[in-house]
């Protein structure tokens, strides 16, 4: 009898708790309430457009500046310089310019509009489970918050995984929390105001393609505008040439000032890609040999070619935040206290399990965290690099 009851209950509950959105049990529920997409209640500080298809940071002013600069400079180039150059030299010049321009625009928009690799925040159950594990592992003395780091050995290097107080997760290696967007981003490189978005795992290759193609475009425009002015001054004299095409002067000025920074940035990122590092890691000197003789980058594949291929042609992971999915009333999430009672016995046995097995993961003590509760936001990226390494216990 006992088995029969539980079996019928199981069947019933299986269809109820199924997390797929097409369960018959849930659709009548949804028809009554207006459908809301998940991006509308996204916890980070991002802006969404086109019903969740486009995702950007909150401050997008500088992105519009970038767009205007590129569009105006290229527009002037195609309108004033290209006709002369096409006639005098070859019509291939505007064609190449056009292709470069389209590529630059495409990669810029792709970088700015895509999800950089945002990690979704922990569900209340996950967060509660993690808190319990940490409390149990540390004896929960209570006054100060439990230290929140985990150590993992990756390819022979010890890497510290930090706990993110905002997202309530242990950050995977190479992930970092962007204080501007208020999200943890996988393989966080940096937050770029020029593209109006974070640069992370999912859009790093587009960002690199953007700065590389922009370097070529800038040099291309600079070279051909100079050529145009020189050719014209052969015909009509230098000052007349400048008077005939005043736009060229503006273009030369813009290109001259951009070329140093953009070419420099491309070179820097080429170095980062070939050594498989992020800007974040390079600035902090995480893998520099100055830190120690045995310090090396555990993520590098060993040779430059593989590193480049991995960064630029590797598989593109999908977005982990389902922006356009519909919000469903979740599975019967019961009040934490009751859940706590059921799990308590489990975590105690887990503790003995954890203590008996000498795993490579261990929660170590650090003295860095100050807040009495978990609503403390971690400090911005750069200042965290000045925190002293923890005294190992």
């Amino acid at each position: 009898m006992h088995l029969g009851v539980s079996e019928s209950m199981r069947e019933c509950e299986y269809s109820q708790i199924s997390t797929r959105s097409s369960t018959p049990m849930e659709t009548p529920y949804k028809k009554r309430t207006p459908k809301k997409r998940k991006w509308e209640s996204f916890p980070g500080r991002n802006k969404f457009y086109c019903d969740g298809r486009i995702m950007m940071a909150k401050q997008t002013g500088v992105f519009y500046l970038t767009l205007v600069l590129i569009l105006v400079t290229c527009g002037l180039f195609f309108t004033f310089d290209c006709p002369f150059l096409a006639q005098t030299l070859t019509p291939v010049i505007p064609v190449i310019g056009g292709v470069l321009f389209m590529f630059v625009l495409g990669t810029l928009l792709r970088t700015s509009f895509s999800d950089p690799g945002v990690l979704p925040r922990a569900t209340p159950d996950e967060a509660a489970d993690l808190e319990r594990q940490i409390d149990v592992a540390n004896g929960s003395t209570g006054y100060r918050p439990p230290p929140r780091t985990k150590e993992v050995v990756i390819n022979g290097q010890t890497v510290k995984l930090k706990y993110c107080f905002t997202c309530k997760i242990f950050r995977p290696p190479r992930a970092s929390h962007c204080s501007l967007c208020d999200n943890c981003v996988e393989r966080f490189d940096h937050h770029c105001p020029w593209v109006g978005n974070c640069v992370g795992r999912r859009n790093y290759r587009f960002f690199y393609m953007f700065i590389l193609s922009l370097s070529f475009l800038t040099i291309f425009i600079f070279a051909f505008v100079i050529t145009h002015i020189i050719l014209r001054s052969h015909q009509t004299g230098f000052l007349n040439a400048l008077k005939d095409s005043p736009a060229s002067v503006l273009e030369v000025v813009v290109c001259f000032f951009s070329v140093w920074s953009i070419v420099g940035l491309s070179g820097f990122h080429t170095y980062l890609i070939s050594s498989n590092q992020t800007t974040n890691e390079d600035i902090k000197g995480s893998w520099s040999s100055k830190r120690g003789k045995d310090n090396y980058n555990p993520y590098s594949y060993g040779n430059i070619f593989t590193n480049c291929c991995a960064a630029l042609c590797g598989p593109l992971p999908p977005s982990l935040i389902d922006r356009r999915g519909f919000i469903q009333s979740d599975t019967p999430q019961l009040a934490p206290p009751t859940n706590g009672i059921t799990m308590y016995g489990a975590t105690q046995s887990q503790q003995s399990h954890m203590v008996s097995e000498s795993e490579t993961e261990s929660v170590t003590k650090t003295s860095a965290f100050r807040a009495p509760n978990s609503f403390y936001r971690p400090p911005p990226l750069l200042s965290s690099s000045s925190k002293a390494p923890s005294p190992s216990s």
Binding site: V159, Y299, P315, H353
Partner: protein, 143 residues
């Protein structure tokens, strides 16, 4: 009296969906792998071998999705040359493998976990951070 109290607790427990979280294993770097360590809460519920087999197969599937091979390079180069518009028509390799994984999890749930009152959720629904086992069976009452 103590007995009735514990029986009431158990009836409460019976209605709860307790969850066991299987965390990520980062010892091989940032690729998606889950810990094959057998959680103690499932000791009485499922065979250790079967659990480890499921997690190992999942790990292999995720490794296949993120593998750097000639196929992924060709796909990457083709995508770059077409300015990534090719993905409007076809799925990325990763997405194809994710569909395979979803099918595998569904099949495992139907064959192995549902008969034991457990449910394995697809890690993609939790941001590839955890694989969750829902434990919904009524706890055994000792009369």
């Amino acid at each position: 009296m103590a007995e009735t109290h514990s029986l009431q607790d158990m009836r409460q427990q019976a209605a709860i969906a307790a969850k066991v979280f299987i965390q990520r294993d980062y010892t091989n770097g940032t690729i998606c792998q889950f810990q094959t360590k057998f959680p103690s809460e499932l000791e009485t519920r499922i065979d250790k071998q079967q659990f480890e087999e499921t997690v190992r197969t999942l790990n292999n599937l995720y490794a296949e999705a993120e593998k750097l091979g000639s196929q992924s390079y060709i796909e990457g180069c083709l995508a770059c040359l077409t300015a990534y518009t090719v993905f409007l028509c076809m799925e990325t390799h990763y997405e194809k493998v994710l569909k395979k994984i979803a099918k595998y999890i569904q099949e495992q749930n139907d064959k192995i976990y549902a008969p034991r009152g457990l449910l394995l959720t697809d890690p993609i629904e939790r941001g590839l951070r955890v694989a969750v086992e829902f434990d919904r069976q009524i706890t055994v009452q000792s009369f």
